[in-house]
Symmetry: C2
Subunit: 189 residues, 2 copies
Amino acid sequence: MHASLKQYLDGKIMLSPADEEYVDCKFKPRSTKRNEILVEKGDTARHIYFVVKGCLRVFLISDAGNESTRFLIFEGRMGTAFPSFINQRASVAAVQSIEASEILMLSHSDRELLLKNILGWERMERVGIEQDYIASIERIESFLSMDAKDRYAILLRKSPEIVKRLPAKIVADYLGISQETLSRLKAKN
Amino acid sequence: MHASLKQYLDGKIMLSPADEEYVDCKFKPRSTKRNEILVEKGDTARHIYFVVKGCLRVFLISDAGNESTRFLIFEGRMGTAFPSFINQRASVAAVQSIEASEILMLSHSDRELLLKNILGWERMERVGIEQDYIASIERIESFLSMDAKDRYAILLRKSPEIVKRLPAKIVADYLGISQETLSRLKAKN
């Protein structure tokens, strides 16, 4: 089994050697280039992605061409254009590899097979989605009740890799603030 | 089994008569008064609530005393201060019954028993939480990429009961806009 995937699953689920092999063969490796688009807006997201190396971005594009970053998927994490993948409908968001990346792709139908055939997969997914949902609730809270300064301070504490590693433009639109405001906040910290 | 709960579970899970009885006895009925607080900010949410009649509100209170409505739970739906309930930690949000309500309460430990003992409960919860997570992603999208007018139009289309039934103050803070902006939008529609 791919070492990063094994590390991800360790502690979340107990797999027999046969199960490990079955799981491993469902995740298809792929290398992506910097800025490569994996899911276009309007397409259906056919896969969920596990990031071995690099970083993926899920983002919105307005009719005027403005982008807003909804979600970032770093090494050792899984993600996709979730509403599109789960309900197999056209995606509002696009998915892009913002660095040259190594990913493992699990298709929608293979995920159904894992849910059906691997004891404990359902539980692992339920627990994982609970925590993803909690993270999104906390992000909604930050939009409802915090200003740009507080949102930046929390991002710096919870996900410093976003601030350190990504272009200012992406950090700013992830926070829903302008690049000028971000520069001012960075200068103060 | 309570008729509303039976209706909620129909189509989501197949239960034997014995299972039905087991599930039913885990949901404890309670009547609440208008504006009664069920979970205080800083408490741990011990229950998830199924609303038979009425409406619950999950909301934030800033240090300055300003409220923002994070989530509304209407008849036939379940909800709570989710991050607090799932991780059994102090809640950032409070839960209030904004109308006199009839609710059924499932405790954290009884939920664990249902997950363990009722075949299909895990799957039902996983599928339910996926859809709740999708709804929260769509709300994040609305904050990232829409103005007040678009957010109001979508609320009117997706959840007209929120606009019709609740006080303007709650509708406005659910949308993250002022009451004045809401009045202007209502006048135009």
